[in-house]
Protein backbone atom coordinates (compact mmCIF):
# COMPACT_ATOMS: atom_id res chain seq x y z
CA UNK A 1 0.00 0.00 0.00
CA UNK A 2 2.65 2.46 1.05
CA UNK A 3 5.00 2.40 -1.97
CA UNK A 4 2.04 2.83 -4.28
CA UNK A 5 0.99 5.97 -2.45
CA UNK A 6 4.45 7.50 -2.77
CA UNK A 7 4.62 6.82 -6.45
CA UNK A 8 1.19 8.39 -6.87
CA UNK A 9 2.38 11.45 -4.98
CA UNK A 10 5.53 11.58 -7.02
CA UNK A 11 3.65 11.32 -10.24
CA UNK A 12 1.34 14.12 -9.22
CA UNK A 13 4.27 16.27 -8.23
CA UNK A 14 6.18 15.70 -11.40
CA UNK A 15 3.04 16.57 -13.34
CA UNK A 16 2.92 19.87 -11.47
CA UNK A 17 6.60 20.46 -12.12
CA UNK A 18 5.91 19.78 -15.77
CA UNK A 19 3.26 22.49 -15.82
CA UNK A 20 5.86 24.92 -14.51
CA UNK A 21 8.36 24.04 -17.22
CA UNK A 22 6.03 23.81 -20.20
CA UNK A 23 5.22 27.49 -20.91
CA UNK A 24 8.89 28.43 -21.09
CA UNK A 25 9.68 25.27 -22.99
CA UNK A 26 7.04 25.99 -25.63
CA UNK A 27 7.94 29.66 -26.08
CA UNK A 28 11.63 28.79 -26.37
CA UNK A 29 10.86 26.04 -28.86
CA UNK A 30 8.74 28.25 -31.10
CA UNK A 31 11.02 31.26 -30.83
CA UNK A 32 14.41 29.64 -31.26
CA UNK A 33 14.43 25.91 -31.88
CA UNK A 34 11.80 25.88 -34.64
CA UNK A 35 13.64 28.72 -36.45
CA UNK A 36 16.79 26.64 -36.15
CA UNK A 37 15.14 23.76 -37.97
CA UNK A 38 13.51 26.15 -40.43
CA UNK A 39 16.93 27.50 -41.31
CA UNK A 40 18.18 23.99 -42.03
CA UNK A 41 15.11 23.10 -44.07
CA UNK A 42 14.99 26.27 -46.16
CA UNK A 43 18.71 26.11 -46.77
CA UNK A 44 17.97 23.23 -49.14
CA UNK A 45 15.53 25.30 -51.20
CA UNK A 46 15.83 28.31 -53.46
CA UNK A 47 12.99 30.23 -51.78
CA UNK A 48 12.84 33.94 -52.59
CA UNK A 49 10.68 34.88 -49.63
CA UNK A 50 7.52 35.53 -51.63
CA UNK A 51 6.52 32.74 -53.97
CA UNK A 52 4.45 29.88 -52.61
CA UNK A 53 6.73 27.40 -54.29
CA UNK A 54 9.91 26.33 -52.59
CA UNK A 55 11.94 24.23 -54.92
CA UNK A 56 14.20 21.69 -53.31
CA UNK A 57 17.73 22.19 -54.60
CA UNK A 58 19.63 19.81 -52.38
CA UNK A 59 22.99 21.07 -51.23
CA UNK A 60 23.27 23.48 -54.16
CA UNK A 61 23.18 26.51 -51.80
CA UNK A 62 26.11 25.14 -49.85
CA UNK A 63 28.06 24.46 -53.02
CA UNK A 64 27.36 28.04 -54.12
CA UNK A 65 28.51 29.36 -50.75
CA UNK A 66 31.77 27.58 -51.28
CA UNK A 67 32.38 29.56 -54.48
CA UNK A 68 30.90 32.85 -53.21
CA UNK A 69 33.74 35.33 -52.72
CA UNK A 70 31.48 37.81 -50.85
CA UNK A 71 30.63 35.08 -48.35
CA UNK A 72 34.31 34.24 -47.94
CA UNK A 73 35.19 37.90 -47.39
CA UNK A 74 32.44 38.26 -44.81
CA UNK A 75 33.80 35.26 -42.91
CA UNK A 76 37.33 36.58 -43.18
CA UNK A 77 36.32 39.94 -41.70
CA UNK A 78 34.23 38.30 -38.97
CA UNK A 79 37.11 36.01 -38.02
CA UNK A 80 39.65 38.85 -37.89
CA UNK A 81 37.25 40.92 -35.82
CA UNK A 82 36.61 38.00 -33.46
CA UNK A 83 40.23 37.04 -32.98
CA UNK A 84 41.24 40.67 -32.46
CA UNK A 85 38.51 41.19 -29.89
CA UNK A 86 39.15 37.97 -28.02
CA UNK A 87 42.83 38.74 -27.58
CA UNK A 88 42.63 42.47 -26.87
CA UNK A 89 39.55 42.40 -24.68
CA UNK A 90 40.74 39.52 -22.54
CA UNK A 91 44.23 40.87 -22.02
CA UNK A 92 43.23 44.48 -21.37
CA UNK A 93 40.26 43.55 -19.18
CA UNK A 94 42.47 41.28 -17.08
CA UNK A 95 45.20 43.92 -16.80
CA UNK A 96 42.64 46.55 -15.80
CA UNK A 97 41.18 44.21 -13.21
CA UNK A 98 44.61 43.46 -11.75
CA UNK A 99 45.42 47.18 -11.72
CA UNK A 100 42.19 48.06 -9.92
CA UNK A 101 42.77 45.24 -7.46
CA UNK A 102 46.32 46.32 -6.67
CA UNK A 103 45.25 48.75 -3.98
CA UNK A 104 44.99 51.98 -5.94
CA UNK A 105 42.68 54.68 -4.67
CA UNK A 106 39.12 55.36 -5.87
CA UNK A 107 38.78 51.84 -7.28
CA UNK A 108 35.00 52.16 -7.51
CA UNK A 109 35.08 55.32 -9.59
CA UNK A 110 37.35 53.72 -12.18
CA UNK A 111 35.15 50.65 -12.21
CA UNK A 112 32.05 52.69 -12.98
CA UNK A 113 33.78 54.75 -15.68
CA UNK A 114 35.06 51.66 -17.49
CA UNK A 115 31.71 49.97 -17.21
CA UNK A 116 29.35 52.70 -18.45
CA UNK A 117 30.03 52.28 -22.22
CA UNK A 118 28.58 48.76 -22.22
CA UNK A 119 25.22 50.15 -21.12
CA UNK A 120 24.97 51.98 -24.42
CA UNK A 121 23.39 50.28 -27.42
CA UNK A 122 25.98 49.05 -29.94
CA UNK A 123 24.08 51.01 -32.57
CA UNK A 124 24.80 54.21 -30.68
CA UNK A 125 28.41 53.23 -30.03
CA UNK A 126 28.97 52.86 -33.77
CA UNK A 127 27.60 56.32 -34.45
CA UNK A 128 29.56 57.93 -31.63
CA UNK A 129 32.85 56.49 -32.89
CA UNK A 130 32.00 57.48 -36.44
CA UNK A 131 31.83 61.06 -35.21
CA UNK A 132 34.87 60.62 -32.97
CA UNK A 133 37.02 59.55 -35.92
CA UNK A 134 35.63 61.99 -38.46
CA UNK A 135 35.07 65.14 -36.41
CA UNK A 136 36.43 65.06 -32.88
CA UNK A 137 39.85 63.47 -33.12
CA UNK A 138 40.99 65.49 -36.18
CA UNK A 139 40.44 68.56 -34.00
CA UNK A 140 43.24 67.24 -31.79
CA UNK A 141 45.48 67.48 -34.85
CA UNK A 142 44.64 71.18 -35.16
CA UNK A 143 45.25 71.57 -31.47
CA UNK A 144 48.67 69.89 -31.46
CA UNK A 145 49.69 70.80 -34.99
CA UNK A 146 50.15 67.14 -35.89
CA UNK A 147 48.69 65.28 -38.83
CA UNK A 148 47.72 61.87 -37.51
CA UNK A 149 45.16 60.17 -39.72
CA UNK A 150 42.14 59.53 -37.52
CA UNK A 151 39.72 58.66 -40.31
CA UNK A 152 39.92 54.96 -39.54
CA UNK A 153 36.51 54.12 -41.01
CA UNK A 154 37.41 55.69 -44.34
CA UNK A 155 40.02 53.21 -45.53
CA UNK A 156 39.88 49.48 -46.16
CA UNK A 157 43.16 48.96 -44.34
CA UNK A 158 42.18 50.75 -41.15
CA UNK A 159 38.47 50.05 -40.80
CA UNK A 160 39.09 46.89 -38.75
CA UNK A 161 41.23 48.69 -36.19
CA UNK A 162 38.64 51.46 -35.96
CA UNK A 163 35.91 48.95 -35.22
CA UNK A 164 38.14 47.13 -32.75
CA UNK A 165 38.67 50.40 -30.88
CA UNK A 166 34.93 51.08 -30.77
CA UNK A 167 34.06 47.54 -29.71
CA UNK A 168 36.77 47.35 -27.08
CA UNK A 169 35.81 50.74 -25.70
CA UNK A 170 32.33 49.38 -25.24
CA UNK A 171 33.06 45.98 -23.72
CA UNK A 172 36.37 46.05 -21.81
CA UNK A 173 34.67 47.36 -18.66
CA UNK A 174 32.16 44.52 -18.73
CA UNK A 175 34.72 41.74 -18.86
CA UNK A 176 36.95 43.62 -16.44
CA UNK A 177 34.19 43.40 -13.84
CA UNK A 178 34.04 39.63 -14.24
CA UNK A 179 37.80 39.34 -13.80
CA UNK A 180 37.64 41.68 -10.83
CA UNK A 181 35.02 39.51 -9.13
CA UNK A 182 37.22 36.49 -9.83
CA UNK A 183 40.29 38.20 -8.40
CA UNK A 184 38.47 39.25 -5.28
CA UNK A 185 37.38 35.71 -4.60
CA UNK A 186 40.98 34.49 -4.43
CA UNK A 187 41.75 33.95 -0.74
CA UNK A 188 44.53 36.25 0.48
CA UNK A 189 46.05 33.27 2.33
CA UNK A 190 47.00 31.70 -0.99
CA UNK A 191 49.08 34.72 -1.92
CA UNK A 192 50.71 34.79 1.48
CA UNK A 193 51.55 31.12 1.27
CA UNK A 194 53.12 31.66 -2.16
CA UNK A 195 55.04 34.62 -0.82
CA UNK A 196 56.42 32.55 2.02
CA UNK A 197 57.46 29.94 -0.54
CA UNK A 198 59.51 32.68 -2.17
CA UNK A 199 57.39 33.34 -5.27
CA UNK A 200 57.79 36.78 -6.83
CA UNK A 201 54.87 38.86 -8.11
CA UNK A 202 55.08 37.43 -11.66
CA UNK A 203 55.28 33.85 -10.42
CA UNK A 204 52.39 34.46 -8.03
CA UNK A 205 50.32 35.83 -10.91
CA UNK A 206 51.01 32.83 -13.14
CA UNK A 207 50.80 30.12 -10.49
CA UNK A 208 48.13 31.46 -8.16
CA UNK A 209 46.02 34.11 -9.90
CA UNK A 210 45.58 32.58 -13.34
CA UNK A 211 44.54 29.09 -12.12
CA UNK A 212 42.12 30.62 -9.62
CA UNK A 213 40.67 32.76 -12.40
CA UNK A 214 40.02 29.79 -14.69
CA UNK A 215 36.20 29.93 -14.46
CA UNK A 216 36.25 33.66 -15.18
CA UNK A 217 38.56 33.13 -18.14
CA UNK A 218 36.19 30.50 -19.57
CA UNK A 219 33.24 32.87 -19.34
CA UNK A 220 35.12 35.81 -20.84
CA UNK A 221 36.68 33.92 -23.73
CA UNK A 222 33.43 32.22 -24.73
CA UNK A 223 31.42 35.41 -24.22
CA UNK A 224 33.73 37.61 -26.26
CA UNK A 225 34.02 35.11 -29.09
CA UNK A 226 30.30 34.55 -29.50
CA UNK A 227 29.67 38.25 -28.99
CA UNK A 228 32.07 39.16 -31.80
CA UNK A 229 30.85 36.50 -34.21
CA UNK A 230 27.37 38.02 -34.11
CA UNK A 231 28.47 41.63 -34.71
CA UNK A 232 25.86 43.62 -36.63
CA UNK A 233 24.38 46.58 -34.72
CA UNK A 234 27.78 48.24 -34.43
CA UNK A 235 28.24 48.20 -38.22
CA UNK A 236 24.79 49.47 -39.15
CA UNK A 237 25.37 52.94 -37.82
CA UNK A 238 29.09 53.30 -38.45
CA UNK A 239 30.63 51.72 -41.55
CA UNK A 240 27.55 50.11 -43.14
CA UNK A 241 29.84 47.24 -44.04
CA UNK A 242 32.20 49.50 -45.97
CA UNK A 243 34.30 51.04 -47.32
CA UNK A 244 33.58 48.76 -50.22
CA UNK A 245 32.74 45.57 -48.40
CA UNK A 246 35.72 45.66 -46.08
CA UNK A 247 33.72 45.50 -42.84
CA UNK A 248 30.81 43.29 -43.86
CA UNK A 249 30.27 40.74 -41.11
CA UNK A 250 28.52 37.39 -41.50
CA UNK A 251 25.21 38.67 -40.18
CA UNK A 252 25.45 41.84 -42.23
CA UNK A 253 26.09 39.76 -45.34
CA UNK A 254 23.18 37.44 -44.53
CA UNK A 255 20.92 40.44 -44.05
CA UNK A 256 21.80 42.05 -47.37
CA UNK A 257 21.63 38.76 -49.28
CA UNK A 258 18.41 37.46 -47.79
CA UNK A 259 16.30 40.47 -46.93
CA UNK A 260 17.50 43.03 -49.47
CA UNK A 261 18.46 40.52 -52.17
CA UNK A 262 15.41 38.28 -51.65
CA UNK A 263 17.41 35.08 -51.46
CA UNK A 264 15.95 33.48 -48.36
CA UNK A 265 17.03 29.95 -49.09
CA UNK A 266 20.59 31.03 -49.71
CA UNK A 267 20.51 33.30 -46.63
CA UNK A 268 19.36 30.37 -44.51
CA UNK A 269 22.36 28.37 -45.68
CA UNK A 270 24.55 31.25 -44.47
CA UNK A 271 22.79 31.24 -41.08
CA UNK A 272 23.34 27.51 -40.77
CA UNK A 273 27.09 27.88 -41.32
CA UNK A 274 27.21 30.60 -38.67
CA UNK A 275 25.31 28.45 -36.18
CA UNK A 276 27.62 25.51 -36.86
CA UNK A 277 30.69 27.66 -36.31
CA UNK A 278 29.22 29.11 -33.10
CA UNK A 279 28.48 25.65 -31.71
CA UNK A 280 31.86 24.33 -32.73
CA UNK A 281 33.75 27.24 -31.21
CA UNK A 282 31.78 27.05 -27.98
CA UNK A 283 32.34 23.32 -27.70
CA UNK A 284 36.07 23.55 -28.35
CA UNK A 285 36.54 26.44 -25.98
CA UNK A 286 34.48 25.04 -23.15
CA UNK A 287 36.19 21.68 -23.46
CA UNK A 288 39.67 23.14 -23.67
CA UNK A 289 39.20 25.66 -20.93
CA UNK A 290 37.33 23.30 -18.62
CA UNK A 291 40.19 20.86 -18.86
CA UNK A 292 42.52 23.54 -17.57
CA UNK A 293 40.09 24.34 -14.78
CA UNK A 294 40.14 20.76 -13.58
CA UNK A 295 43.92 20.58 -13.66
CA UNK A 296 44.09 23.80 -11.69
Amino acid sequence: MKPKKISYMERRMSRQYLLLVLPGFIIFTIGLIVPLFMAVRYSFTDWDGMSAEKIFVGIQNYIDLFHDSEFRDAWWFTLKFTIGNTIIQNVVALLFAVALDSGIKAQKIYRTIFFIPCLISALVVGFVWLKMFSNVLPAINDFLGTSINFLLFGKKETVLSGLLIANNWQWIGYWMLIYLAGLQSVPAELYEAAKIDGAGPVKRFINVTIPMLAPAITICVVGITTGSLKVYDLLVSSTKGGPGRASTSMIYQTYTTAINGRKYGYGCAMSVTLVLVLLLVALIQVKGLKKREVQA
Binding site: L20, V21, S185
Partner: protein, 288 residues
Amino acid sequence: MLGRKKKEDMASVQPYTKGTLAVQAVMTVAAVFFIAPLFIILNYSLKGKKELYLSSPLSLPESFNLENYVKAYKKLDLATTFTNTLVYTVVSVLILAILCGTTAWAIARCKRKFFKFCYVYFIVGILIPYQALFLPIYMIGYRMNMTNTRFGIIFMYVATGISFGVFLMNSFMSTVPLELEESARIDGCSVFKTYFKVVLPLLKPAMATLVIMQSFQIWNDYLLASLYVSKKQLKTLTVAIHSLFSAQSSDYTTAMAAIVISVLPIAVLFLSLQKYFIKGMTVGAVKG
Protein backbone atom coordinates in the same frame (compact mmCIF):
# COMPACT_ATOMS: atom_id res chain seq x y z
CA MET B 1 35.83 36.89 2.57
CA LEU B 2 37.30 37.94 5.90
CA GLY B 3 40.83 37.86 4.59
CA ARG B 4 39.72 39.97 1.71
CA LYS B 5 38.27 42.64 3.95
CA LYS B 6 41.55 42.92 5.77
CA LYS B 7 43.40 43.36 2.53
CA GLU B 8 41.13 46.21 1.47
CA ASP B 9 41.51 48.00 4.77
CA MET B 10 45.23 47.69 4.53
CA ALA B 11 45.18 49.10 1.03
CA SER B 12 43.23 52.16 2.04
CA VAL B 13 45.74 53.20 4.69
CA GLN B 14 48.81 52.22 2.72
CA PRO B 15 50.80 55.17 1.42
CA TYR B 16 51.66 55.25 -2.28
CA THR B 17 54.64 53.26 -3.39
CA LYS B 18 56.30 53.92 -6.72
CA GLY B 19 54.42 50.98 -8.19
CA THR B 20 50.91 51.91 -7.10
CA LEU B 21 51.50 55.52 -8.10
CA ALA B 22 52.42 54.44 -11.62
CA VAL B 23 49.41 52.15 -11.81
CA GLN B 24 47.18 54.94 -10.61
CA ALA B 25 48.55 57.27 -13.28
CA VAL B 26 48.11 54.73 -16.08
CA MET B 27 44.56 53.95 -15.00
CA THR B 28 43.71 57.63 -14.87
CA VAL B 29 44.83 58.05 -18.47
CA ALA B 30 42.75 55.01 -19.44
CA ALA B 31 39.75 56.42 -17.57
CA VAL B 32 40.06 59.68 -19.49
CA PHE B 33 40.05 57.73 -22.76
CA PHE B 34 36.94 55.87 -21.66
CA ILE B 35 35.04 58.88 -20.47
CA ALA B 36 36.01 61.25 -23.31
CA PRO B 37 33.41 60.01 -25.83
CA LEU B 38 30.71 60.32 -23.17
CA PHE B 39 31.79 63.87 -22.50
CA ILE B 40 31.79 64.59 -26.25
CA ILE B 41 28.23 63.30 -26.60
CA LEU B 42 26.99 65.50 -23.78
CA ASN B 43 28.98 68.45 -25.05
CA TYR B 44 27.61 68.20 -28.58
CA SER B 45 24.07 67.75 -27.38
CA LEU B 46 24.20 71.20 -25.78
CA LYS B 47 25.74 73.02 -28.72
CA GLY B 48 23.90 75.18 -31.22
CA LYS B 49 24.00 74.49 -34.94
CA LYS B 50 26.33 77.43 -35.60
CA GLU B 51 28.79 76.31 -32.98
CA LEU B 52 28.95 72.91 -34.62
CA TYR B 53 30.62 74.38 -37.68
CA LEU B 54 32.48 77.32 -36.22
CA SER B 55 33.99 76.13 -32.95
CA SER B 56 36.27 73.22 -32.17
CA PRO B 57 34.54 69.94 -31.18
CA LEU B 58 36.48 70.06 -27.95
CA SER B 59 35.33 73.51 -26.84
CA LEU B 60 32.52 73.84 -24.34
CA PRO B 61 29.13 75.11 -25.51
CA GLU B 62 28.71 78.90 -25.27
CA SER B 63 25.41 78.62 -23.52
CA PHE B 64 23.30 75.79 -22.23
CA ASN B 65 20.61 75.49 -24.81
CA LEU B 66 18.22 72.59 -24.72
CA GLU B 67 17.05 73.23 -28.27
CA ASN B 68 18.55 69.93 -29.45
CA TYR B 69 16.61 68.02 -26.85
CA VAL B 70 13.37 69.60 -27.98
CA LYS B 71 14.24 68.76 -31.59
CA ALA B 72 15.23 65.21 -30.69
CA TYR B 73 11.97 64.81 -28.80
CA LYS B 74 10.03 65.68 -31.94
CA LYS B 75 12.22 63.81 -34.43
CA LEU B 76 12.24 60.63 -32.37
CA ASP B 77 8.52 60.88 -31.78
CA LEU B 78 9.69 60.33 -28.25
CA ALA B 79 6.32 60.10 -26.51
CA THR B 80 5.48 57.08 -28.67
CA THR B 81 8.86 55.40 -29.08
CA PHE B 82 9.80 55.80 -25.44
CA THR B 83 6.50 54.33 -24.27
CA ASN B 84 6.81 51.47 -26.77
CA THR B 85 10.33 50.60 -25.67
CA LEU B 86 9.30 50.83 -22.03
CA VAL B 87 6.26 48.60 -22.56
CA TYR B 88 8.24 45.99 -24.53
CA THR B 89 11.01 45.98 -21.96
CA VAL B 90 8.84 45.89 -18.84
CA VAL B 91 6.37 43.29 -20.08
CA SER B 92 9.06 41.00 -21.54
CA VAL B 93 11.14 41.22 -18.39
CA LEU B 94 8.15 40.53 -16.15
CA ILE B 95 7.23 37.45 -18.15
CA LEU B 96 10.86 36.36 -18.14
CA ALA B 97 11.08 36.79 -14.38
CA ILE B 98 8.02 34.59 -13.84
CA LEU B 99 8.92 31.92 -16.40
CA CYS B 100 12.63 31.66 -15.69
CA GLY B 101 12.02 31.32 -11.96
CA THR B 102 9.48 28.51 -12.28
CA THR B 103 11.34 26.75 -15.07
CA ALA B 104 14.70 26.82 -13.34
CA TRP B 105 13.22 25.66 -10.06
CA ALA B 106 11.34 22.76 -11.61
CA ILE B 107 14.47 21.72 -13.51
CA ALA B 108 16.55 21.88 -10.34
CA ARG B 109 14.09 19.92 -8.21
CA CYS B 110 12.56 17.29 -10.44
CA LYS B 111 14.98 14.49 -11.16
CA ARG B 112 13.14 12.98 -14.11
CA LYS B 113 14.92 12.57 -17.40
CA PHE B 114 12.82 15.14 -19.23
CA PHE B 115 13.92 17.86 -16.82
CA LYS B 116 17.56 16.99 -17.23
CA PHE B 117 17.04 17.17 -20.97
CA CYS B 118 15.40 20.59 -20.53
CA TYR B 119 18.52 21.97 -18.89
CA VAL B 120 20.68 21.03 -21.88
CA TYR B 121 17.92 22.17 -24.24
CA PHE B 122 17.88 25.67 -22.79
CA ILE B 123 21.68 25.90 -22.76
CA VAL B 124 21.59 25.61 -26.56
CA GLY B 125 20.00 29.05 -26.55
CA ILE B 126 23.03 30.50 -24.79
CA LEU B 127 25.43 28.97 -27.28
CA ILE B 128 23.46 30.22 -30.29
CA PRO B 129 22.69 33.93 -29.94
CA TYR B 130 19.43 34.86 -31.65
CA GLN B 131 21.29 37.15 -34.05
CA ALA B 132 22.71 34.10 -35.81
CA LEU B 133 19.14 32.95 -36.47
CA PHE B 134 17.62 36.33 -37.18
CA LEU B 135 16.48 35.28 -40.66
CA PRO B 136 14.33 32.26 -39.69
CA ILE B 137 13.18 34.18 -36.60
CA TYR B 138 11.91 36.86 -38.92
CA MET B 139 10.41 34.24 -41.24
CA ILE B 140 8.50 32.46 -38.48
CA GLY B 141 7.22 35.78 -37.15
CA TYR B 142 6.03 36.74 -40.60
CA ARG B 143 4.32 33.42 -41.09
CA MET B 144 2.53 33.47 -37.76
CA ASN B 145 1.45 37.08 -38.32
CA MET B 146 3.50 38.22 -35.36
CA THR B 147 5.45 40.97 -37.11
CA ASN B 148 4.19 44.47 -36.47
CA THR B 149 2.38 43.43 -33.34
CA ARG B 150 3.23 44.15 -29.72
CA PHE B 151 2.59 40.52 -28.91
CA GLY B 152 5.06 39.34 -31.53
CA ILE B 153 8.03 41.36 -30.40
CA ILE B 154 7.43 40.65 -26.72
CA PHE B 155 7.10 36.95 -27.50
CA MET B 156 10.44 37.00 -29.27
CA TYR B 157 12.20 38.92 -26.51
CA VAL B 158 10.97 36.30 -24.06
CA ALA B 159 11.96 33.42 -26.34
CA THR B 160 15.44 34.80 -26.95
CA GLY B 161 16.06 35.79 -23.32
CA ILE B 162 14.76 32.70 -21.59
CA SER B 163 17.80 30.47 -21.86
CA PHE B 164 20.08 32.96 -20.15
CA GLY B 165 17.41 33.56 -17.51
CA VAL B 166 16.97 29.88 -16.76
CA PHE B 167 20.72 29.40 -16.53
CA LEU B 168 21.02 32.38 -14.18
CA MET B 169 18.15 31.35 -11.92
CA ASN B 170 19.34 27.75 -11.89
CA SER B 171 22.68 28.83 -10.46
CA PHE B 172 20.86 30.54 -7.58
CA MET B 173 18.73 27.51 -6.69
CA SER B 174 21.34 26.07 -4.36
CA THR B 175 20.72 29.07 -2.07
CA VAL B 176 17.16 27.84 -1.44
CA PRO B 177 17.22 25.40 1.49
CA LEU B 178 15.47 22.14 0.65
CA GLU B 179 14.23 21.71 4.24
CA LEU B 180 11.98 24.73 3.91
CA GLU B 181 10.39 23.35 0.78
CA GLU B 182 9.92 19.93 2.35
CA SER B 183 8.26 21.31 5.44
CA ALA B 184 5.94 23.36 3.24
CA ARG B 185 5.02 20.21 1.39
CA ILE B 186 4.37 18.33 4.62
CA ASP B 187 2.03 21.17 5.55
CA GLY B 188 0.10 20.23 2.44
CA CYS B 189 1.30 22.86 -0.04
CA SER B 190 1.11 21.95 -3.71
CA VAL B 191 4.14 22.42 -5.93
CA PHE B 192 2.82 25.79 -7.10
CA LYS B 193 2.08 27.00 -3.62
CA THR B 194 5.52 25.91 -2.43
CA TYR B 195 7.11 27.91 -5.23
CA PHE B 196 5.17 31.10 -4.69
CA LYS B 197 5.09 30.98 -0.87
CA VAL B 198 8.53 29.61 -0.04
CA VAL B 199 10.90 29.71 -3.00
CA LEU B 200 10.03 32.95 -4.75
CA PRO B 201 10.58 35.20 -1.70
CA LEU B 202 14.04 33.67 -1.30
CA LEU B 203 14.84 34.32 -4.94
CA LYS B 204 14.35 38.08 -4.72
CA PRO B 205 18.03 39.03 -5.16
CA ALA B 206 18.30 36.64 -8.10
CA MET B 207 15.17 38.16 -9.59
CA ALA B 208 16.62 41.65 -9.26
CA THR B 209 19.71 40.47 -11.12
CA LEU B 210 17.65 38.87 -13.85
CA VAL B 211 15.47 41.95 -14.28
CA ILE B 212 18.41 44.29 -14.64
CA MET B 213 20.40 42.10 -17.00
CA GLN B 214 17.46 41.54 -19.32
CA SER B 215 16.13 45.11 -19.21
CA PHE B 216 19.33 46.54 -20.52
CA GLN B 217 19.59 43.97 -23.28
CA ILE B 218 16.03 44.49 -24.48
CA TRP B 219 16.17 48.26 -24.11
CA ASN B 220 19.26 48.39 -26.32
CA ASP B 221 18.24 45.79 -28.88
CA TYR B 222 18.22 46.92 -32.46
CA LEU B 223 18.19 43.91 -34.81
CA LEU B 224 15.04 42.20 -33.55
CA ALA B 225 13.15 45.46 -33.22
CA SER B 226 14.12 46.52 -36.72
CA LEU B 227 12.92 43.19 -38.11
CA TYR B 228 9.68 42.97 -36.18
CA VAL B 229 8.31 46.50 -36.18
CA SER B 230 8.06 48.82 -39.13
CA LYS B 231 4.77 50.48 -38.24
CA LYS B 232 5.34 53.99 -36.96
CA GLN B 233 3.24 53.63 -33.84
CA LEU B 234 5.06 50.46 -32.77
CA LYS B 235 8.67 51.61 -33.28
CA THR B 236 11.24 51.41 -30.54
CA LEU B 237 13.73 54.01 -29.45
CA THR B 238 16.74 52.35 -31.07
CA VAL B 239 14.94 52.01 -34.39
CA ALA B 240 13.92 55.69 -34.26
CA ILE B 241 17.47 56.67 -33.33
CA HIS B 242 18.80 54.75 -36.29
CA SER B 243 16.59 56.63 -38.72
CA LEU B 244 17.59 59.86 -37.01
CA PHE B 245 21.27 58.98 -37.53
CA SER B 246 20.75 58.50 -41.25
CA ALA B 247 18.60 61.60 -41.65
CA GLN B 248 20.70 63.95 -39.53
CA SER B 249 24.21 62.84 -40.28
CA SER B 250 25.44 66.39 -40.78
CA ASP B 251 23.51 68.09 -38.00
CA TYR B 252 24.42 65.54 -35.41
CA THR B 253 23.83 67.73 -32.37
CA THR B 254 20.23 66.50 -32.41
CA ALA B 255 21.42 62.90 -32.71
CA MET B 256 23.68 63.41 -29.69
CA ALA B 257 20.77 64.75 -27.65
CA ALA B 258 18.78 61.67 -28.71
CA ILE B 259 21.63 59.47 -27.50
CA VAL B 260 21.61 61.14 -24.09
CA ILE B 261 17.87 60.61 -23.84
CA SER B 262 18.13 56.93 -24.72
CA VAL B 263 21.05 56.16 -22.43
CA LEU B 264 19.81 58.03 -19.38
CA PRO B 265 17.15 55.59 -18.11
CA ILE B 266 19.44 52.58 -18.32
CA ALA B 267 22.35 54.49 -16.76
CA VAL B 268 20.19 55.56 -13.82
CA LEU B 269 18.94 52.01 -13.39
CA PHE B 270 22.50 50.72 -13.41
CA LEU B 271 23.90 53.27 -10.99
CA SER B 272 21.13 52.64 -8.48
CA LEU B 273 21.24 48.84 -8.72
CA GLN B 274 24.92 48.24 -9.49
CA LYS B 275 25.24 45.49 -6.92
CA TYR B 276 22.68 43.20 -8.59
CA PHE B 277 24.05 43.94 -12.01
CA ILE B 278 27.51 42.79 -11.08
CA LYS B 279 26.11 39.70 -9.41
CA GLY B 280 24.32 38.73 -12.60
CA MET B 281 27.39 39.18 -14.75
CA THR B 282 29.66 37.22 -12.52
CA VAL B 283 27.51 34.11 -12.11
CA GLY B 284 29.79 31.18 -12.66
CA ALA B 285 32.88 33.34 -12.83
CA VAL B 286 33.75 32.87 -9.18
CA LYS B 287 35.09 29.58 -8.00
CA GLY B 288 33.24 27.78 -5.21
